[in-house]
Symmetry: C2
């Protein structure tokens, strides 16, 4: 077994955030490294890189969601790439790199009795790729568009949060599949990325002008498939222009994640009746059977130079909470990662 | 050809209603009876009974819906049962009774070049049954639950507007299919009907207490299928208690039909993500292939005494607009009909 440190640094949830999440909602703690008492089947991993996702904000609230809430005083749950430093499981040899839902600490014991199991990262895939362009956000875009949204060539597709980790891949997948794509993002720079880097046919800057008016001009025949990461007013604008028999895929609702009092929802849901449209919420975990094929396709596109991806890599264990907060400002310039040092 | 009157009474749309529809939005007009210049294939019908539906309110607004708006100065479009008084179409012999989307006038020429064609009413079915228990509202309930909502035995089904024309049949169909049914209606009397006449397992009076709290108590495992006729806060309460992989069928949104400024929508649409639930709007016209089987099943249930139905029959041509307004008060005591005299 390789040498491990004596101290296991952790960031734990100190209290449940109220409204906007703050750095003070987390606390640093040092514990002993949980070694060497591995049971049969268990592995000990050392975190290399952490990936951040807006959905983690929901896990910090009390109450049942699709996952139990993160307990107060426990390390925060989150995606990471990690090296196996000790193993009593032949699937995960020492030295291998794995990607999975771990937590904000240097060392974790993974019991491998529950779901989902960590995924072995291929030797030619970097931790940055494993958590970024080939990670959960990209898989979510792939599954959401194809399995949930029934993406077809020729569709007019609208993507909100289109410059983000999920959205930017959704834009590109829709284009690669032969759809016409309109992206919504905040600010002129992100809108330039959308068209120039991700190949969107058009971009709408929600901070500059009326989204619904721009949609009317850009999609006079309506939106066939709306992949929504934002909710709220953005969702309302998309519903206003949904095509007959249109599909709305609800992937996220970042506009409301930090709200104490939920904002009013779309005022125009009766459009769904007139247009015979449907709206479906989904999470990646229900579609794990499609993940291997989706990952293989994303990898092929990536190696062929057909998939562009932006990452924002922060450095150092101490910066973890501040890096998480970047998701909810406009600071993130791409998929938010942090290299543990 | 039987004798016809010389005067064709009409109620036309005088102006587009703003907000709450009023009697003054309509005007009486007398015209000549459109006879005897029938072209080949056409029929002349005399209206016997008119059926009223909240969806007509939407057709009175400007702007494209699933049907063109009713033109100002034209007789108001609506369901009716009518007798064929002259025919140049062998499918519709003189003397037959037909049911279809006609208009608020004594006599109409039906060209039979567009869709949907009038339906011949069987000799043992009364006009009241044709427009009521076997009419569009009941067919909408049948198709919405089965074709759109995928109703299954054992489902916990929530129906809003449950004492209404669509809702009361939806409650009964769900029960006949082996579901557990909770109905939402306004007032203690309607809630009594729900349980006593329509066989709902439980009723919630939305005027008396908190709907979401009652739902939590009545459906601790959540709602599998929510058939919503109301929208707004009622929809929000249903979403709050939707089960994992639950289905919401949007049939109507009467809470908002008379709004000038649309009311805020459900604040909790992100529940659809956490619960992986879906919401689908539909209209009967897209499901006409299922209508014959649905009508046959409804007829069989009716003749077997398994289907209860309430009608509210007003009298006389002059009362047509006032009768339409009853839909939006609590005056209607069942499917709203009017016998033309």
């Amino acid at each position: 077994m390789p040498a491990v440190d004596r101290i296991n640094r952790q960031w734990v949830l100190a209290r449940r955030p109220i409204g906007q999440v703050r750095v003070e909602d987390f606390a640093r703690r040092d514990g002993p490294v949980p070694v060497p008492d591995l049971a049969a089947g268990e592995i000990l991993i050392r975190t290399l890189m952490i990936g951040f996702d807006p959905a983690q904000r929901g896990w910090m609230d009390e109450g049942a969601s699709y996952m139990p809430p993160i307990a107060i005083g426990e390390p925060v749950r989150g995606s990471a790439a990690a090296r196996v430093v000790a193993s009593r499981n032949p699937v995960y040899p020492e030295g291998a790199v794995v990607r999975g839902l771990f937590s904000w600490q240097d060392y974790s014991v993974v019991a491998l009795r529950g779901e989902p199991a960590p995924v072995l990262v291929a030797p030619d895939v970097t931790p940055e790729e494993a958590l970024g362009v080939l990670g959960g956000a990209s898989l979510t875009a792939h599954v959401g568009l194809n399995q949930v949204g029934g993406l077809r060539a020729g569709d007019t597709v609208l993507v909100s949060g289109a410059a983000g980790a999920v959205g930017s891949v959704a834009v590109q997948i829709a284009r690669l599949r032969g759809a016409r794509v309109i992206g919504i993002a905040g600010g002129a720079e992100k809108c330039r990325w959308l068209v120039k880097d991700y190949g969107a046919d058009a971009a709408i800057d929600y901070r500059n002008g009326d989204v619904a008016e721009r949609l009317a001009a850009l999609a006079p025949n309506g939106i066939d498939l709306f992949f929504d990461n934002v909710g709220g007013e953005t969702l309302e604008a998309g519903i206003a222009h949904i095509a007959r028999f249109g599909r709305i895929v609800l992937c996220g609702a970042i506009s409301g994640y930090n709200d104490v009092t939920p904002a009013p929802g779309p005022r125009n849901l009766s459009r769904l009746i007139a247009q015979r449209a449907e709206m479906r919420g989904f999470i990646l975990l229900d579609h794990m059977d499609h993940v291997p094929a989706a990952r293989a396709e994303l990898t092929a596109w990536l190696r062929a130079g057909q998939l562009r991806y932006r990452v924002d890599i922060q450095q150092g264990f101490e910066a973890i909470p501040a890096t998480f907060l970047r998701l909810f400002s406009s600071a993130s310039q791409g998929k938010q990662l942090l290299r543990v040092e």
